[in-house]
């Protein structure tokens, strides 16, 4: 018995050692792609990859910056796969995209329809689905990728971490993972939206290493407005107010600031957590949408004089004002999506599917036209829980 097994194991072991290692790649043979930018140029896809230069990143950590911590490579081809393969002709290392952080689509491509690039990214084994999707606003994706960043040595990491951070602390911004985008692309009850990124400052200066050495960079990247899409095509950019409303309605806002007017000045209310619910009801032949939003907040800043925060009426008033403010934002966004863009980015259709599957199956074909006429009722409920570490503002008792 054992003789038999020993010989079997011996044969196996020799096969393995002789023939193995097909998939081996050493760490110093791979080019780690941190960001991928795709543009459309003359009917061809222009692929820009931002590759990390590990040695350089390590030296940056030790203090000295000599060369750029990342490199970009570009190639053009009709399909993405071909373009990615072509990169190998001038990159000394194998392109490795499992650690991709950002996928940036050029605005031109987005306007023409970005469906054609999605399949490659979802199908490929190397692409994990945890990177963020973004559209380059008013520029090409390649330009975005060329800008070097401060604080974080790798620009793509800077992008993704600032995106993640501002999602938590700034209302209009939200992270979109590729899976979410694809789901929304396929699903009939909702249309996708994607966050935009733009260059502030001089793009050409941003490419140089000196950009990193200054305290105020010549060029930097900023996330801002939201691109709304119909199918895979970019329709328009939402204004900041509208995107704010959109994110409130979708419950994507975690920590944000609501500025409530008081006299000429403002009171800032910080949201602690929000909870939203979108529903679609059927009332005869009419669809009625409701957006219910609960916000827990805290007073963060008081600018106006003579405001007595110790009184419950003041708090109630502030809550009411905040509710109105948010409600207005949401309504603006809904209105814009219904009238201006005619795109259901809120997912009222999805809500209908969930509550009335049979009706949904009848209307899903032309949900588009039904959506325009939905009456939406927005119900915002703000609860101020805390007022910070002091009760009344020093301004309250400031000498007149």
């Amino acid at each position: 018995m054992n003789k038999r097994l020993t010989s079997l194991l011996f044969i196996l072991a020799s096969i393995m050692l002789l023939a193995g290692c097909w998939d081996r790649r050493e760490l110093n043979d791979i080019a780690i792609v941190s960001a991928l930018g795709i543009d459309k140029v003359d009917d061809e896809l222009l692929v820009t990859i931002q590759v990390i230069n590990p040695g350089q990143v390590a030296t940056v950590k030790q203090g000295g910056i000599t060369k750029a911590p990342v490199r970009t490579f570009q190639s053009k081809a009709r399909t993405l796969s071909e373009a990615m393969r072509k990169v190998t002709t001038f990159s000394p290392r194998a392109v490795y995209s499992s650690h991709l952080r950002m996928l940036i689509i050029g605005e031109d491509l987005a306007k023409e329809g970005m469906g054609e690039i999605i399949d490659y990214v979802v199908r490929g084994k190397e692409f994990r689905t945890d990177f963020y999707l973004s559209i380059a606003k008013n520029t090409r994706a390649e330009n975005i990728l060329k800008v070097l960043s401060q604080l974080e040595t790798i620009p793509a990491h800077k992008l993704s971490s600032s995106l993640k951070l501002s999602e938590k602390s700034w209302g209009p911004i939200e992270t979109i993972e590729i899976n979410q985008f694809v789901n929304e692309l396929v699903y009939k009850g909702i249309e996708p939206h994607v966050i935009g990124v733009e260059i502030i400052g001089n793009p050409e200066a941003g490419e140089k290493i000196e950009n990193v050495e200054k305290t105020k960079a010549d060029a930097y990247l900023k996330f801002g407005s939201v691109a709304i899409m119909r199918k895979d095509k970019l329709v328009d950019w939402l204004t900041e107010k509208e995107s704010n409303g959109l994110h409130y309605a979708l419950g994507k806002v975690q920590r944000a600031v609501i500025n409530v007017p008081c006299k000429e000045k403002k009171v800032a209310i910080e949201t602690i957590r929000t909870n939203s619910k979108i529903q679609t009801k059927v009332d005869g032949h009419q669809f009625k949408g409701t957006v219910q939003l609960h916000i827990d907040g805290a007073v963060a800043e008081v600018q106006c004089e003579r405001m007595d925060l110790e009184k419950i009426e003041t708090i109630n008033l502030l809550q009411k004002k905040a509710e109105e403010k948010v409600k207005k934002d949401i309504l603006t966004a809904i209105q814009a999506s219904q009238k201006k863009y005619e795109v259901d980015i809120f997912g009222f259709g999805e809500a209908l599917h969930r509550s009335h599957p049979s009706i949904w199956h009848k209307v899903k074909k032309d949900w588009h036209s039904h959506f325009k006429d939905i009456q939406v009722h927005v119900d915002v409920d703000v609860k101020l829980r805390r007022i910070g570490t002091i009760n009344n503002s020093p301004l309250h008792e400031m000498k007149p």
Partner: protein, 541 residues
């Protein structure tokens, strides 16, 4: 399977019969004078003995005269260094030479006794005396530390037990140290060792059977067990396996271990060895059999299961919660020692997507300029580590320290600085080495060291897929092992819920009422009371 078993059996039988035949032949050819009885003439006898030993200088053959007029000539034969010479002077020679003269005994009339009986019963003030008639017995007695007395004119002699000489005393063990627990360790002397165990288990059911093994060395091998707790089949099996040993010399219990283990095609130890009497006592109480071999401080216990190689006696001396935690740590250490380098190789060369990005970047930065593939790098470092370890072991203790410092610090740092290996690899290898020291049994630690290379090979050719397959094969192999009839992986496989109390965790002692079921004969408790109950029940039956 049946025919295979049959096959195996027939081979065993055949070889066994053959062995017996061979043995007889050898015995007859080697010792033709075996049946020779001693002569009446002392002179001739002594001459013959001297010839038999080739006039070896350590064999003392002395002739003295006893009695009032010195009328009886007595030959004293012993091996210098094996006997307690002081006791020999005091209790044998002095008794013979002085007592007889001082008491003015008439050797012709000895209170109705013959001379030899008189000497045996009234003169020699020593414990154990045997009558000897045979030259062969005499030589054996002389070699095992007895003093042989031959009397002129008699075809009979005495072999007086007088074992002594320089031997290492009971000292603290160096191979298995604990913070808490008895400090004593076994010595090379079998009697001392049995006494150490006897002192711990003061019960008449602690039985010892002895046998001489090794045609030339004639080493004494004892098996020890507690009657009533141990399974009779196991004792029988041990007995018969020791019986079947056919070898000229046993120099260490390792010889026995290799000759009686179940399966020789395995890297895993299936017999436990230890230097600590407390472990042996504990094992005996669980119903195992201990095999003691003269001339080595290492005692074997069977049957042995896998988990016990990852347990330490201290587990039972410390609080249960701490012991359990440390046991977990030890299991973890076992797996890291086995897999850490292979996992590193697999992840960095096959599955880079598993690493967090920052870690990947810093690893990649370290690997810039390293000329070898990760596998070769790991392989070189591991080999270097093994060389250092082995060198440190064999070297004089003072130099060993220096070597390990030079090896670890200087070579490691220099290798990283020179860019031959990456710093991460040094960390991995060092961590692996430390982990392998967590494995409490040295035997298992060696196995792990060996298998580590196998897993590295698997990782280098198939990545994690290879490692998983390797692990499955390892578990299959372990499941196929047995140690004296007990499945090696028990009590996990076959799963016995009742025995789980003392495997990965050790429950508090009051919950450990029952002995492990895999070893002991009945489901008897650890408490004495019920052990008697069992005996009573058996009697009733």
């Amino acid at each position: 399977m049946s025919f295979l078993k049959f096959f195996k059996k027939s081979i065993d039988k055949k070889s066994f019969e053959q062995l017996l035949a061979d043995k007889e032949k050898q015995d007859s050819s080697e010792q033709p004078q075996s049946k020779e009885t001693i002569k009446r003439s002392l002179h001739e006898n002594l001459k013959k003995i001297r010839e038999a030993f080739g006039n070896s200088s350590d064999i003392v053959t002395r002739e003295i005269r006893i009695g009032r007029q010195g009328e009886i000539r007595v030959g004293i034969i012993y091996t210098d260094g094996l006997i307690n010479s002081e006791a020999n002077h005091n209790f044998v020679m002095e008794s013979l030479m002085f007592e007889l003269r001082r008491n003015e005994v008439d050797l012709k009339d000895l209170a109705g006794l013959t001379l030899l009986n008189y000497i045996k019963e009234m003169v020699l003030t020593v414990g154990s005396i045997e009558d000897v008639h045979d030259f062969n017995v005499i030589t054996n007695a002389v070699l095992s530390g007895k003093v042989v007395l031959l009397f002129d004119g008699y075809e009979q002699g005495f072999a007086v037990e007088m074992k002594g000489g320089k031997e290492r005393g009971v000292q603290e063990t160096t191979t298995e140290t604990t913070i808490r627990g008895p400090r004593e360790g076994f010595t090379e002397n079998l009697r001392v060792n049995t006494s150490l165990i006897r002192r711990k288990i003061k019960d008449h059911r602690l039985w010892i059977e002895s046998k001489k093994v090794g045609k030339v060395t004639k080493t004494e091998v004892s098996i020890m067990y507690i009657k009533g707790i141990v399974r009779e089949e196991v004792v029988q099996e041990v007995r018969s396996r020791i019986e079947q040993i056919d070898i000229d010399g046993i120099l260490e219990s390792g010889y026995i271990e290799e000759l009686i283990q179940d399966d020789s095609y395995t890297p895993f130890p299936t017999i436990y060895n230890t230097e600590r009497p407390d472990i042996v006592a504990g094992h005996l109480l669980e119903g195992r059999v201990a095999i003691l071999v003269d001339g080595t401080p290492f005692v074997l216990t069977v049957p042995s299961i896998f988990v016990q190689f990852l347990q330490s006696p201290e587990d039972y001396y410390q609080r249960a919660d701490i012991s359990s935690l440390i046991r977990f740590l030890r299991f973890f250490g076992f797996f890291t020692a086995l897999l850490a380098p292979s996992l590193y190789v697999a992840i960095t060369t096959f599955h880079q997507e598993m690493l967090p990005t920052q870690l990947l970047i810093s690893l990649a930065a370290q690997r810039e300029g390293v000329p070898f593939p990760a596998f070769i790098e790991a392989f070189l470092m591991e080999i270097m580590l093994e060389i250092l370890r082995e060198a440190g072991l064999r070297m004089p203790r003072a130099i060993g320290q220096a070597v390990s410092i030079v090896g670890t610090l200087v070579v490691g740092t220099a290798a990283v600085d020179a860019g031959i290996v990456s710093a991460a690899m040094v960390i991995v290898v060092a961590f692996t080495a430390i982990s392998s020291f967590m494995v409490s049994s040295y035997d298992l630690a060696i196995t792990v060291r060996m298998l580590r290379f196998v897993f590295m090979g698997l990782a280098a050719s198939f990545g994690l897929f290879g490692i998983i397959l390797g692990l499955v094969a390892l578990v299959l192999h372990l499941s196929s092992l047995r140690s004296f009839g007990v499945p090696y992986l028990s009590p996990m496989a076959p799963f016995t819920l009742a025995d789980q109390k003392d495997v990965f965790i050790r429950l508090p002692r009051r919950l450990l009422i029952f002995r492990p079921r895999v070893f002991s004969s009945q489901q008897n408790t650890k408490r004495e009371k019920s052990l008697f109950q069992n005996e009573n029940q058996r009697k009733k039956k």
